[in-house]
């Protein structure tokens, strides 16, 4: 048995090395004074200097984060009301229909979402710019928020709502004093997932963005198609550090829950 776990550990280490190799490779060459990712020449901060003077790329970086925050907030608001609505439906069949519709965008390939949204915007005469990208990101983030919030409503003791209303609470008070606190862990996880969806998206944005607006993913794609550019390596290092900080914060925020049910809330997809 002991030997068994030992072998397993080696195997897992190999998988981990494989998973981190490309990221490490990028970061390693971001410090090389060469022009390619084949031979490390000399240590340099040059590519970081270029990166921090590249106003266009920095603006895109900020735009991408702004887009993620904004679409995350809107999607969380709409998704939460959606979860409350589905939870209130009396018939199981109605709930199932709404859940199925809710999940359509979760299982659709990105190309399909991108292509059909492009048709949609063109048909309605909506200009392709920040607005169309924002609307699309909100649209594909809503279902995950619903899926994160709904279980919290199901777990909740519904007699609390009856008790509150018997004691004279208005629907508004019930919503803000009882439902929102009960849903809060789900809302937070949903918002977090919506953020990662937005930051991660390439294909949908690629389809629905016009000339005036671009996100990091789309920008990296068009630069990578032109070949190696070590400025992108420097950018990867920054993004990796950024992700590490985010994960650390999320880890701290969820540690309490995490100990209780032994799972990292929304992180385990």
């Amino acid at each position: 048995m002991n030997k068994h776990t030992w072998l397993g550990k080696i195997y897992l280490w190999l998988v981990l090395i494989l998973l981190y190799l490309p990221i490490g490779y990028l970061i390693f060459y971001s410090f090389s004074s060469g022009r390619n990712m084949n031979h490390f020449k000399q240590f340099t901060w040059l590519h970081y200097q270029t990166l921090f003077q590249d106003n266009r790329l920095l603006a895109i970086f900020l735009q991408t984060i702004l887009l993620a925050l904004l679409s995350g907030l809107i999607a969380t608001a709409i998704g939460t009301t959606g979860a409350v609505m589905i939870d209130r439906l009396q018939q199981k069949r109605q709930q199932k229909v709404f859940l199925a519709l809710n999940n359509v965008l979760m299982v659709s390939p990105d190309v399909i979402i991108g292509a059909s949204f492009l048709i949609f915007f063109t048909a309605l005469g909506i200009q392709l710019n920040f607005g169309s990208v924002l609307i699309s990101h909100v649209a594909f983030s809503i279902p995950i928020v619903v899926l994160m919030v709904l279980p919290k409503l199901k777990e909740m003791d519904h007699t609390l709502v009856d008790a509150a209303s018997d004691l004279g609470a208005s629907p508004r008070q019930i919503f803000s004093r009882i439902l929102i606190p009960a849903m809060m862990p789900g809302i937070a996880a949903g918002f977090f997932m919506a953020l990662t969806y937005s930051l991660d998206d390439f294909a949908v944005t690629f389809f629905v963005t016009g000339n005036g607006f671009t996100t990091l993913s789309v920008e990296i794609y068009s630069r990578a198609r032109q070949g190696i550019d070590l400025e992108i390596n420097a950018l990867s290092t920054i993004i990796f550090l950024f992700v590490l900080v985010l994960v650390f914060i999320y880890y701290l925020l969820t540690t309490r829950r995490f100990k209780k049910n032994g799972k990292i809330g929304g992180v385990i997809k």
Binding site: L18, N36, I112, A115, L118, L246
Partner: protein, 274 residues
């Protein structure tokens, strides 16, 4: 209670979302697939698709590649998921496995342009053994390799969740009753973890049919998957009707895959990444 029966006004945005961003886009893409550029109803697009050998060959190819990617991912991920359940700090290990999925997909694909290049890491490694430079970048093999790399964490997680839920007493009972390691795997572990494997397959097979930026960046800019074909028709050739037709066929394939693997939506994977 009154407002329990009536969903109420607050959910209007959500219902509008379902109408405009779930139902309407599907109707629009189906409508486009049955019309030509002059908006006349026609079956011409479907005729082109099924009468023309190139489209059918490409679909088969796309299916075959998706199958290979899913299989390779499963073979690497199942043991990893199994060994994970034997460790002490499982949550920490899981976090380490999830972390790379948060790095932008495009950056990881870009890294492979360096790694797989003629003088990249892999070829430098091969040269240690006197093996000449192998061309991997811009080949189908390169595409398969990178796609597998990207999908591994998404296969490990559902399988891990399935295995961790199995009562260890069942495995013990099987061993106590004299089953060999293989028999325990075949008749206890595998059937009980199958739901996880199925949702992993679902989370990987469908996106693999549609990964277009990987075929563009790593696969050498050729149209080898359905996703690339759709992108080509929408963004380059600008024949949206044909693109929509391929889209509808992709949707049909997707539904088939979901029926075969059970209808559990794979949580949190709009492939995103792609």
């Amino acid at each position: 209670m009154k407002n329990k029966r009536h969903p109420g006004l607050f959910a209007i945005p959500y219902v509008l979302w379902i109408a405009f961003f779930v139902i309407l886009p599907i109707l629009l893409i189906v409508w486009y697939s049955f019309t030509n550029t002059n908006q006349h109803l026609t079956l011409q697009n479907y005729h082109t698709f099924f009468a023309n050998g190139t489209f059918l060959r490409m679909s088969l190819n796309s299916f075959w590649y998706a199958f290979l990617i899913t299989l390779a991912t499963l073979l690497i991920s199942y043991p990893a998921a199994y060994f994970l359940t034997k460790l002490k700090k499982q949550q920490f290990w899981l976090l380490l496995i999830i972390l790379p999925t948060w790095i932008n997909l495009l950056l990881k694909a870009y890294a492979f342009i360096g790694i797989l290049g003629r003088q990249g890491l892999v070829n430098q490694f091969l040269q240690l053994f006197g093996l000449g430079p192998v061309n991997m970048l811009f080949t189908n093999f390169g595409f398969l390799l990178v796609a597998t790399y990207i999908e591994i964490p998404f296969m490990i997680l559902p399988i891990y969740n399935a295995i961790v839920a199995i009562d260890p007493a069942l495995i013990q009972a099987s061993e106590d009753l004299g089953a060999s390691k293989w028999q325990t795997f075949r008749f206890v572990l595998w059937p009980l973890s199958r739901a996880g494997v199925e949702s992993g397959i679902q989370a990987i097979f469908i996106p693999s049919l549609s990964l277009f930026m990987l075929t563009r960046l790593i696969g050498g800019n050729r149209v080898i998957t359905l996703g690339t074909a759709i992108e080509e028709y929408f963004m380059t050739t600008m024949n949206w009707n044909m693109g929509a037709t391929i889209g509808v066929i992709l949707i049909v394939m997707m539904i088939l895959v979901m029926l075969l693997t059970g209808n559990k939506p794979a949580h949190g994977r709009r492939m995103h990444h792609e």
